[in-house]
Symmetry: none
Subunit: 215 residues, 4 copies
Amino acid sequence: MMQMTSTQAGAPTSNRHARQRTRTRERLLEAARDVLAREGAQATTIADITRAADVGVGTFYLHFRDKDDLLHHLLEEGLERLREDVSGVVAPMPLARSLPTAIHAICDALFTHRAIIRIAYSSGSFVDLTRRGQEMLATYLRCAIEAAQEEGLASKSIDAPLVADLVSGMILQSALWWGEHAEPAPDRMARQIITLLRGELPAALFEASFQRDIS
Amino acid sequence: MMQMTSTQAGAPTSNRHARQRTRTRERLLEAARDVLAREGAQATTIADITRAADVGVGTFYLHFRDKDDLLHHLLEEGLERLREDVSGVVAPMPLARSLPTAIHAICDALFTHRAIIRIAYSSGSFVDLTRRGQEMLATYLRCAIEAAQEEGLASKSIDAPLVADLVSGMILQSALWWGEHAEPAPDRMARQIITLLRGELPAALFEASFQRDIS
Amino acid sequence: MMQMTSTQAGAPTSNRHARQRTRTRERLLEAARDVLAREGAQATTIADITRAADVGVGTFYLHFRDKDDLLHHLLEEGLERLREDVSGVVAPMPLARSLPTAIHAICDALFTHRAIIRIAYSSGSFVDLTRRGQEMLATYLRCAIEAAQEEGLASKSIDAPLVADLVSGMILQSALWWGEHAEPAPDRMARQIITLLRGELPAALFEASFQRDIS
Amino acid sequence: MMQMTSTQAGAPTSNRHARQRTRTRERLLEAARDVLAREGAQATTIADITRAADVGVGTFYLHFRDKDDLLHHLLEEGLERLREDVSGVVAPMPLARSLPTAIHAICDALFTHRAIIRIAYSSGSFVDLTRRGQEMLATYLRCAIEAAQEEGLASKSIDAPLVADLVSGMILQSALWWGEHAEPAPDRMARQIITLLRGELPAALFEASFQRDIS
DNA sequence: CATGAATGAGACTTCATTCAT
DNA sequence: AATGAATGAAGTCTCATTCAT
């Protein structure tokens, strides 16, 4: 490591090397995204990925410890981008008032990165790996609700963690919906979710004339 | 095979065999449920399952073609039980008024069968196999909403299929919640979901003073 | 064994049992012949055979030690029948003059039992199991030739064992021919072989004008 | 893969790899020939072969799809060599006059490649795989006979396809003979076959005083 | 740094054989 | 005697990982 053979050529050389290295790594990540989203995480072998990236199998191990490591990087990176996309829009806002804006941003981001989400759901180690993404979303929602409670905008009786988790489930569902439907666009999806959370479903639907479920 | 000369001699034999066979099959299914829920579908080998069932490896193949076949049976059976549990309660009711009762029944059933759901989510072929369970739920919800629309209880402007899918995402989320939390009980979970869908979140949360997401 | 429960019923009972046993054994042998000839010895499992015979798997082992034992019996029996069919015709004749009659009888027998021969050839342990059948034929031919030599009918310079073996190869070839062609009938096949052995092919075919193979 | 920037750097690498790969493949083929001829195709496992070749089990699958694929290659290659050895000698000759030369060449080739023939006969899928080799020989013989018929050297009444097949059976028998005897050398074997086909066996052998086979 | 042939642990699957009924 | 569910040894095959070049 740190090849000290020629001091003067060291810097440019290692720069070139570093650039080359980064380029190869990117090639691998991109190929992995493609193949994994298409074939599913289980069915994909390291050889599939290196073939798609047009590098040797051994090269994979110069950049990632194993498939889990790659998956980790991929999802981590995807998560980070999702977070950036959303927080870039939401961060400057007062938390308690950011919800509708956030939902729009989240839908946009989910739509943009739906390939990554497909990978997460197909990765089998789903519950472990994917849960983190959901937690990130749920955490934001919990904070927003709690902030609203602090400001007196929302009743303190709301169970913020649970409600946040349930809502995150609803929102993530849209990513799965896009796995099978082209419509609606993220914008309309967001509005749909907001309308639903505002109580779109009429009270009548929930007034059971005779309730047998008291058991 | 040829002992059909005496009906009372032939039948017992094949009955005994059949009973023994069924017992072994049940042992396998039960062991599989345990191990799969604990270790995840991917990490579980056939040997793990037969060891837990205390039968020989070969025995597995007397009852299932391969792991996928087992998974299929397990999920199919789980789904069927879920469906029965819910429809036993809901079927006699007018569809348009069954929603709250149904949500309670669903939460009960999801809680009871949460092991199966964990398996479904970890099965990797998740998107393919599990989706069916979700569809069953979404289909019920869609029908309920549409029935309400027919009766004039709900606005015709509601996008029933999409709303049903989103709500199914929220409800299923409760099963994942129970993967990590003991509370709340199914009963309170159902009420929480209903409250949420009735518009528990205050309008104020959705009134963004300044919306930047118009793009 | 030898159930001595009732002395007076002993004989008839064991007779019935013996007959039953023999019948089952025949059923197994017949089923085996069918399945083996159709599927090939390698591809056939014990279960295939017992299924075709409509008996339990365990029953197989009451009659044969294992598949090799069955194969052995089957081929042994087939060989024996071939031998009987042929020697029934040939035995009463003076050996040195039996050849044409024998060839006719052999062709008849090969045609009749061509299923067994197919099994022998497909049995993979061919060289070991089948060779015996060939040897039986070669041995007869050798004896016939040697008898002719004794009587001065044939030159003593003929290498009887080798010639017998080569001729047995030619004759057995007809069984393989019948695996793919319906014609000619055994009778004409025998005549063809005899004609060939009598030097049907003209001398001209063997007079190479320029022989380069002297090496 | 990407090192095509410099021709002199890229080629050596892939050349080296290719050479190494070929060497391993040859090792496998050679080991397979040995083991298969010794143990028979059925009794031989992949592990037996890789052990003999002193490579890892997985390596086998880098070069062959499965045992059938290997067998196919082995027999195909063997057949091809047989064909080359024979046609190298026979091709320049007029077909109708090539027979004795061909028989010598065939015996030489059968003797040289008797290991392959032993494998073919033990391969169980014998009838399917081996038949092709026989057909090749039978086809040559048929053509030679037909050519002789064309030239008026042989009677048109000869059933060329059948006779060719029978003769091929006799010739192939010599390969089996060599499985058990060291003598005679190919040269003498060829002469023996030719003598036999020229009608060595005396007419007396075929003059049955009383023929009972008219049936 | 990159390569890809080689490796072998480990999962899958079959099927001859046993044995309780 | 007959049955067929159960068994597990033995073989097949895959694929993550290493390493000489």
